[in-house]
């Protein structure tokens, strides 16, 4: 079976993130096995629990949460990229990380890349 992994490097307020979300949802609706989304570089900002985007803007974080819930889509953030941007990941019961996201490392990107038939970066 064909598998897809997606890398997101853009922040929640980027127009490219909208394209990425549209792409991922279209893949899921088409029944493609999306084995995971890896958030790297500014992409980790999606997992920042303290971010609240103005209500008349595109709610990228809410859409990721919805896809995660509806399709059990794994959302991984890179811990190094997150901590570099001031998102502390060390606490056990962490209230700074959005619960829809899993704190992972670049090793997870290796895992996803080697398992996926196709890797798409945004």
């Amino acid at each position: 079976m064909k598998t897809l992994a997606v890398v997101i490097t853009t922040p929640p307020y980027s127009h490219l993130t909208i394209t990425a979300l549209t792409y991922v949802e279209a893949a899921l609706v088409a029944g493609i096995n999306v084995i995971g989304v890896f958030f790297y570089q500014d992409g980790v900002m999606h997992a920042n629990e303290n971010i609240s985007i103005a209500s008349d803007e595109y709610q990228a974080i809410e859409h990721w949460q919805r896809l995660q819930k509806q399709y059990q889509l794994p959302l991984h953030i890179c811990i190094t990229a997150a901590e570099k941007r001031g998102i502390a990941c060390d606490a056990i019961d962490n209230d700074k990380i959005n619960k829809a996201f899993t704190v992972s490392g670049l090793g997870e990107l290796v895992e996803l890349t080697t398992k996926a038939s196709r890797l798409v970066q945004f």
Binding site: Q41, L106, G107, L109, T114, K115, S117, L119, Q121
Partner: protein, 131 residues
């Protein structure tokens, strides 16, 4: 890491990952982020190749020191590629020429390729990430 090896769908003649470096070294963290990805793939014994194109070629130029800008000089880590078995390092010749840069690199065994060769080399990889 046996589970990864078993799951790898790359055919033997094909490398798993190509990383394209397209940004100058010190104005953003793209170069360092690409380096981190390259080293982790190598640490997991996945074959990774590095491609330098556009302003990315500045990452290979000799006699640079990011610490003068108060930045951790990640370029020094390039000398560890041999230790990590990262052997396939390609640079785009037209990108050097259009910037009037000589082939004066701070690491050895860099292969300077024409546009066509560069594209063919990229095509030998199952996945591509661009930074």
């Amino acid at each position: 890491m046996t589970s990864i090896e078993q799951n790898s769908s790359a055919s033997p003649q094909e490398s798993v990952l190509a990383i394209i470096n397209s940004k100058a070294p010190f104005s953003s963290s793209h170069g360092k982020d690409a380096l981190d990805v390259a080293l982790i793939f190598a640490a997991f014994e996945q074959k990774v190749s590095l491609f330098f194109q556009g302003d990315g070629v500045y990452q290979l130029m000799d006699k640079q020191d990011g610490s003068l800008l108060g930045i951790k000089d990640y370029l020094k880590t390039f000398s560890a590629f041999e230790f990590y078995d990262i052997e396939d390092i390609y640079v785009c010749q037209p990108s050097l020429a259009s910037r009037q840069l000589d082939e004066d690199f701070h690491i050895d065994d860099v292969q300077v390729l024409s546009s066509i060769e560069f594209g063919l080399a990229l095509n030998r990889h199952q996945h591509v990430l661009r930074f």
